[in-house]
C-alpha cells in the first residue's frame, strides 16, 4: 500500500496498464510531454515513448474517432478529454459509433478496448464550462459503460477494470478530488468490477445513493443524520451504465426510503432513472417518495456555485424530509 492522491492513483493505473500491455496507448490534448493539464499522464511519454503517449491536435471528435479506429484495430486506447465539458464535439463518435460498433457489425468488429477519461464536476470555480457532470447524457446509450470513482483506491481499481473491460467505457474523474482525496492504494495491479455498486455503510432507515465526488457530500450528510438517530445505508453506484439495480433494490426493500444525489441538473439526470426503476421494483415497500438532490435546472454558475451545488446540508434536508414524510 502507498499513500496516493487521486491523480497519482490514476497515473499509477495508466502506468501499470502500459507496462503490462504495449498495445495500451494514452493520448489527448496536452497529454504528452506535459503530462496533461492535471498531470494525470505525467511521465508516461518519458517512460513509454512518443508513440504510445502523445499529444493530439485539438479536436475531440478526432481524438475519439481516432481512438475508435485504434480500438477496432485491436489496440487499447485510453483517450483523455481535457474536461468533460468538452466531450460534446465527440458525442457522435461516442454515441453513434463507439456504442454501436459491436452491435451493428454482429460482433465482427468492436471497440471494446476503448476507455475515455475525462475530469468532471464542480466545486472548483469553473463556471459553465469547467464544471459539468455529463454522465446522464451518455447513460441513455446502450453499448457504453460509464464509471465514476470516489477516491484514489477506487480510481486505480476501476480504471484498470475499465481499461481491461471488453466494452467502450467512459471514465469520469471527480477533478475536485484530484488532489484533495488522498488514501491508501495497493501497489499491485488490481481491478474492481464494473457494473457493481458498493454498499459503503449499512443502515435501516434510509438508503443514500450517489457516485464520485458526491459520495463525500453524502458522507457528511449521513454524519448529521446519524447524530439525529437516523440509521443510513450508503451506496456508491460506481458504474452508472449498466447500473447495479439489484443492490439498490435490495437496500430499498430493507430501508423503504431512498435519496439519490448528483451534481448534474435535476431534469433528465441519472437520479431520474434510478427513481423510476426503484419505484417500479419496490413500490409496496416505499415509505416516502424517492428524493433527488441535484444541481438546479440551469447551466453551471460561478459566483453562486455554493448555492447551486447539492451540498451535504441539502442532502441532509432531504433525508429528514424523507424520514418525516
Amino acid at each position: 500500500m502507498a499513500k496516493m492522491n487521486m491523480l497519482q492513483a490514476i497515473n499509477n493505473a495508466l502506468d501499470m496498464a502500459m507496462a503490462a500491455n504495449d498495445r495500451v496507448l494514452c493520448f489527448g490534448e496536452d497529454v504528452g510531454v506535459f503530462g496533461g493539464v492535471f498531470r494525470a499522464t505525467s511521465n508516461l511519454q518519458q517512460k513509454y515513448g512518443k508513440d504510445r503517449c502523445f499529444n493530439t491536435p485539438l479536436v475531440e471528435q478526432g481524438i475519439i474517432g481516432f481512438a475508435n479506429g485504434l480500438a477496432a484495430q485491436g489496440s487499447v486506447p485510453v483517450a483523455e478529454i481535457q474536461f468533460a465539458d468538452y466531450i460534446f464535439p465527440a458525442f457522435d463518435q461516442i454515441v453513434n459509433e463507439s456504442a454501436k460498433f459491436r452491435y451493428r457489425s454482429g460482433n465482427l468488429f468492436d471497440v471494446g478496448g476503448l476507455t475515455i477519461r475525462a475530469p468532471y464536476g464542480g466545486g472548483i470555480a469553473g463556471g459553465l464550462y469547467h464544471s459539468q457532470s455529463p454522465e446522464a447524457y451518455f447513460a441513455h446509450t446502450p453499448g457504453l459503460k460509464i464509471v465514476v470513482p470516489r477516491n484514489p483506491h477506487q480510481a486505480k481499481g476501476l480504471l484498470l477494470g475499465a481499461i481491461h473491460d471488453p466494452n467502450p467505457t467512459l471514465f469520469f474523474e471527480p477533478k475536485r478530488l484530484y488532489r484533495a482525496s488522498v488514501g491508501e492504494v495497493p501497489e499491485e495491479d488490481y481491478r474492481l468490477p464494473l457494473g457493481e455498486a458498493e454498499v459503503l455503510k449499512e443502515g435501516t432507515d434510509i438508503t443514500l445513493l450517489g457516485w464520485g465526488a458526491q459520495m463525500e457530500v453524502i458522507g457528511q450528510a449521513v454524519d448529521l443524520a446519524e447524530k439525529e438517530g437516523i440509521s443510513c445505508e450508503v451506496i456508491d453506484l460506481r458504474t452508472i451504465l449498466p447500473w447495479d439495480v439489484n443492490t439498490v433494490v435490495e437496500s430499498v426493500l430493507k430501508t423503504g426510503r431512498l435519496v439519490v444525489s448528483h451534481e448534474a441538473p435535476l431534469t433528465g439526470g441519472f437520479a431520474s432513472e434510478i427513481s423510476a426503476t426503484i419505484q417500479e421494483r419496490c413500490f409496496l415497500y416505499l415509505e416516502s417518495p424517492i428524493a433527488r438532490v441535484t444541481g438546479m435546472d440551469t447551466p453551471f454558475p460561478l459566483a453562486l456555485e455554493k448555492e447551486y451545488l447539492p451540498n451535504h446540508l441539502k442532502v441532509f434536508d432531504a433525508i429528514r424530509a424523507s424520514v418525516e414524510f
Binding site: G65, G69, S75, R104, P142, N167
Partner: protein
C-alpha cells in the same frame, strides 16, 4: 519557436486563394480504350485486370437487379454504385488483400473484389439469419472481418478519423499494412474529415484517403458543397500528398493507389486521392434525381462509362471478347437472381439477436427485457409472425 519554417517575407500586402496553383487530373486511358500519349503501360497483369473487370460487371448486374427487386417491394432499400466502379474497384485492387478497407456505403465493388460472395451480399441485403450483421442494419451495410472490410456505418465521415486511428495501430504493429478509407465529396464537409486528415499528417500514419467526387451529395451539387476546385487542394492545408485522378479511368485509379500505398506503407505518408467521377444513378432507391439535375447532364457522363472504357482496353489487348462478355452477363444475372431467391426465403435472425452484441455479454437488465418480450410474444403470437415460432412452448 517559430511556428512556420522560414518563409518568404513581403512588404506589400498580397492576398491569394491559391487558384493559380491547379491540381491536374491524372488520366491513362481514353474512352476508346487506348492509352493517352505519354501514359505509362499499367502495372496490371491479365489476371488482375480480368478480376477487376469481372467485379465491375458483377456490381453492375447486382445493382441493376437489386434496384429492380427494391422496386418490386422485395427489398426495403438499395444503393447503386453505377458509374463509379473504376474508382472503387480500381483502387481496391491496388491494395494488399489484408489492408483494411473502411468504406462509406457505395463501395460494394471493393468488397466484391475481395471475394465477398453473392450469397453473402444477399444475406445482408435481406437481413436474414445468415447476415453477419444479424439483420440489424439497412441494406448495403456490409461488413466482413475475414476480408478486412469494416462494417458500414450510416453516419457520414465517422469512418475517416477511425481510419487514421486504425492505420496508426497498423504502423505501431509494423505489419506493413495500411488502411484505405472511402468517402464522398459531400462527407468531406464534415468536421470528422478535417480531424482525420490533420491527425494523419501530424502522426504520419499509413492511410489512403480516397474521395469519390461524384458531383452530388444526394441533391446537393458540389458547387454548393464547396467553392474550391474539388477536395484535392485541402491536402495542402495538412501538408499531405495528394493526387487527382480521372475516377472513370481504372488504370489511372489503380496506378495512383498503388503509388499511394507505397508512400503510405514505406514512408508513413498519408495520401489523399480525389477520384473525379459521377453518380450515374439516383442517390438511393428513395431518391429521384429528376428533381435536381438534367437528363442531358447524365447523358454526358453515361458516355464516360468506366466499364465500357475498361472493356475497350481489354478487348484492345485481346484479353476479353464479346462472347465472354455475353457469358458473364448471363451467368451473373442468373446467379444473382437465384441467390436472391434463396436469401429472401431464409428466416430472420433469432429473437435473442435483439439483445446480443450490445455488450460483450448480455447484461441482466437486457435478459430481463428479453424475457418480458418473450412472455409478451407468447400472449400475442399472431402479432409477431416472424418470431412467435421461436417462443412457443415454455414460459
Amino acid at each position: 519557436m517559430s511556428t512556420t519554417t522560414k518563409a518568404e517575407v513581403v512588404h506589400t500586402p498580397t492576398f491569394t486563394d491559391g487558384a493559380e496553383f491547379r491540381i491536374p487530373t491524372f488520366q491513362v486511358l481514353k474512352q476508346d480504350g487506348t492509352l493517352h500519349e505519354g501514359a505509362q503501360a499499367p502495372a496490371l497483369d491479365k489476371d488482375q485486370a480480368l478480376r477487376i473487370y469481372r467485379t465491375m460487371i458483377f456490381t453492375r448486374v447486382l445493382d441493376e437487379r437489386m434496384l429492380a427487386a427494391q422496386r418490386q417491394g422485395r427489398l426495403s432499400f438499395y444503393m447503386q454504385c453505377i458509374g463509379e466502379e473504376a474508382a472503387i474497384i480500381g483502387s481496391a485492387a491496388a491494395l494488399d488483400e489484408d489492408d483494411m478497407i473502411m468504406a462509406q456505403y457505395r463501395e460494394q465493388g471493393a468488397l466484391a473484389y475481395r471475394g465477398f460472395t453473392t450469397d453473402e451480399f444477399m444475406n445482408q441485403l435481406f437481413g436474414n439469419e445468415m447476415d453477419y450483421g444479424k439483420g440489424r442494419q439497412m441494406p448495403v451495410h456490409y461488413g466482413s472481418a475475414k476480408l478486412h472490410y469494416m462494417t458500414i456505418s450510416s453516419p457520414l465521415a465517422t469512418q475517416i478519423p477511425q481510419a487514421t486511428g486504425y492505420a496508426y495501430g497498423q504502423k505501431l504493429a509494423g505489419d506493413g499494412k495500411c488502411t484505405i478509407v472511402y468517402f464522398g465529396e459531400g462527407a468531406a464537409s464534415e468536421g470528422d474529415f478535417h480531424a482525420a486528415l490533420n491527425m494523419a499528417a501530424v502522426h504520419r500514419v499509413p492511410v489512403i484517403f480516397l474521395c469519390r467526387n461524384n458531383g452530388y451529395a444526394i441533391s446537393t451539387p458540389s458547387v454548393e458543397q464547396f467553392a474550391a476546385d474539388g477536395v484535392a487542394p485541402r491536402a495542402f492545408g495538412y501538408k499531405m500528398d495528394v493526387i487527382r485522378v480521372d475516377g472513370n479511368d481504372v488504370l489511372a485509379v489503380h496506378e495512383a493507389t498503388r503509388l499511394a500505398r507505397r508512400m503510405a506503407v514505406e514512408e508513413n505518408r498519408p495520401v489523399l486521392i480525389e477520384a473525379m467521377t459521377y453518380r450515374l444513378a439516383a442517390h438511393s432507391s428513395s431518391d429521384d434525381p429528376s428533381g435536381y439535375r438534367s437528363k442531358d447532364e447524365e447523358a454526358v457522363w453515361r458516355e464516360k462509362d468506366p466499364i465500357l472504357r475498361m472493356r475497350h482496353w481489354l478487348q484492345g489487348r485481346e484479353w476479353w471478347s464479346d462472347d465472354e462478355e455475353k457469358e458473364i452477363q448471363e451467368r451473373l444475372r442468373r446467379e444473382v437472381l437465384e441467390t436472391m431467391k434463396k436469401a429472401e426465403k431464409r428466416p430472420p435472425p433469432p429473437l435473442e439477436s435483439l439483445v446480443t452484441d450490445v455488450y460483450d455479454q448480455v447484461t441482466p437488465e437486457l435478459s430481463r427485457q428479453l424475457d418480458n418480450l418473450k412472455s409478451h410474444i407468447r400472449r400475442y403470437p399472431d402479432a409477431y409472425p416472424k418470431t412467435a415460432g421461436q417462443v412457443r412452448g415454455g414460459e
